[in-house]
Symmetry: C2
Subunit: 337 residues, 2 copies
């Protein structure tokens, strides 16, 4: 009996490539006392994983060379010597990029498959969804009638920010990569307008879309999305900063720091960085509000699914370039029988 895992083969200096990952096969471990063995069904791919590939000091320990890449999964328990978990339990667990794994139960949550499709525990009802909800409500303190710009508007986080902002009675402007995503944002997610972040005249397009200026910028991207939004922010606008995917692997021709510092000063901006792992105390309130909306279909979501663990690296590299359309998942194993 063996299992498969993808380990960090080397640290990227700039944009990562396939050479930084390695697929390995290893003997399937058996659970010791107080452990369970689970089989991965869904693996979540998220931009934060780029940070874990680097040795630079950050908010979390990096993955070491040769270690299994970290990641959240939906899995089911196939053997257990843990009193809290039984064979057949379906769990949300930090199994990493692996077909199977042992757990002592730390950081593991049992899922109720009747609430929503299991994959939503990694997306709209999981970490990205909580990020959207906390960012909009707690970090940006969004109010009805305000105007918000959401970068990565159709991504796992942005797609929920946009829908929640619209439900709140805000004017919602999306920035996304390409016409197809922009059309989806307006037709399905309720954005008032969605602009292609590659447009040459993006600053002017945002100004046209919001002549009175922007109250809130929900920042997932940085790069041109940031540069084009900054001059359109109202005096005293707020920025909720939870990602900067355009700059995770270094930046080509990044703007100089004084551009940003000067905007914060002259426009009296409030900028708050946040990492969702600080805010899990808000999960019950988030689920109480959003789970029924997903169940009823009032909130929609979209998934990009890669088939098979072996395709996780390619899917992750595509995600870093904006190749995903909605929440990026890897189907590692079949649903429970």
């Amino acid at each position: 009996m063996t299992y498969r895992r993808i380990v960090l083969a080397a640290r990227p200096d700039a944009a990562p490539g396939p050479e930084h990952f390695r697929l390995e096969t290893a003997p399937l471990p058996m659970p010791g006392e107080g452990q369970f063995l689970a089989r991965t069904i869904w693996l979540s791919l998220d931009p934060y994983m780029r940070g874990r590939m680097s040795a630079a000091k950050s908010y979390a320990k990096p993955v070491e060379i040769g270690e299994t890449m970290q990641g959240g999964c939906v899995a089911d328990v196939i053997a257990s010597r843990h009193p809290g978990f039984a064979v057949g339990d379906v769990v949300l667990a930090p199994m990493g990029w692996a077909s199977h794994g042992l757990s002592d139960g730390v950081g593991v949550v049992k899922l109720d498959p009747s609430i929503a499709p299991l994959s939503t525990a990694l997306g709209v009802l999981g970490m990205p969804g909580l990020t959207a909800w906390v960012g909009l409500n707690d970090i940006a303190a969004a109010h009805p009638g305000e105007t918000i710009v959401v970068s990565a508007a159709t991504g796992a986080v942005g797609s929920l920010v946009g829908q929640l902002a619209k439900r709140k009675g805000m004017k919602v402007i999306g920035l996304a990569g390409g016409a197809e995503k922009c059309a989806y944002a307006m037709a399905e997610l309720g954005y008032d307008i969605c602009l292609d972040h590659r447009a040459e005249n993006l600053t002017a397009l945002i100004a046209d879309a919001a002549p009175q200026g922007i109250d809130i910028y929900f920042e997932n991207v940085a790069g041109k999305s940031l540069e084009a939004t900054l001059p359109n922010l109202k005096t005293h606008a707020r920025i909720a900063l939870c990602g900067m995917i355009a700059w995770y692997s270094g930046a080509e021709n990044p703007p100089p720091a004084p551009l940003i510092w000067g905007a914060i000063l002259r426009q009296r901006l409030s900028v708050r960085g946040f990492i969702i792992f600080d805010h899990y105390d808000r999960l019950p309130d988030f689920l109480a509000e959003v789970a029924p909306l997903v169940q009823s279909g009032a909130i929609t979501y979209r998934e990009s699914i890669a088939e098979g663990l072996e395709n996780a690296p390619a899917a992750f590299l595509s995600l870093l370039r904006g190749g995903n359309f909605g929440k990026q998942l890897v189907r590692v194993g079949p649903d429970p029988a």
Copy 2:
């Protein structure tokens, strides 16, 4: 009868020089109905004036070429057709860089010369003092026991930030230009330590001074002070940003924007830009607290005085290079008889 004024002669592209100013003599105007004529005693020189020399969009209208440089002054009324102001009144007024000026009373405050030396209305009890007090209390929400780094630690703003923070029971670390200012900061202003912002290993020196990290960075300077402080900020630290004098005229080798954006994200910082002109509603509370402390000598202050309006440009250019030591003033005329 004539008066003297200094006008903007040309807009600087980078660091300004004497060629961007011109001293003019003009006929002394007489007050019309609803106006008064005042004679300048003290002119305040402040870093924000660099912004007014540029045409770039900012929070205030720029000075036009040929117009008198803007600035706050202490002055006395020498002729009046305004019902609210009588000859002999001493006022705080936006007279600009001029020996005399007309006013319709807008933005003018009568001063009580018995409270403190008149010049303090431009410094420790004026705009810079209010900036320090609002920044520390309202913007940074400073608390006893926290550790703060104050850039431009002996400047008009920083010198009060340091003293107020110390009185609040904080650990107070200053950054200032050179050994003399640092010695003054520790001996007279109560800083626990003051570091030369030109030190090669400033990041390490701050780390040594605050091994537990920094809760609040009071930002007047940007440049190396910012770069060295950022890595020493605690998770969830706050930055009160009211100036960036090192970058007002462009920056040599500025850091790239991702350095700052990444720090805000990973360290979950809150950065708030503020401009004191938004906060004048706080002036009474500020004066109620700080004026008695200045009167009793519990709060001290230091002034750099240039003699004569004609020396205002040189003093201002020196201020932009950190050549002032304390609040920079120009003695334009003698005190009232």
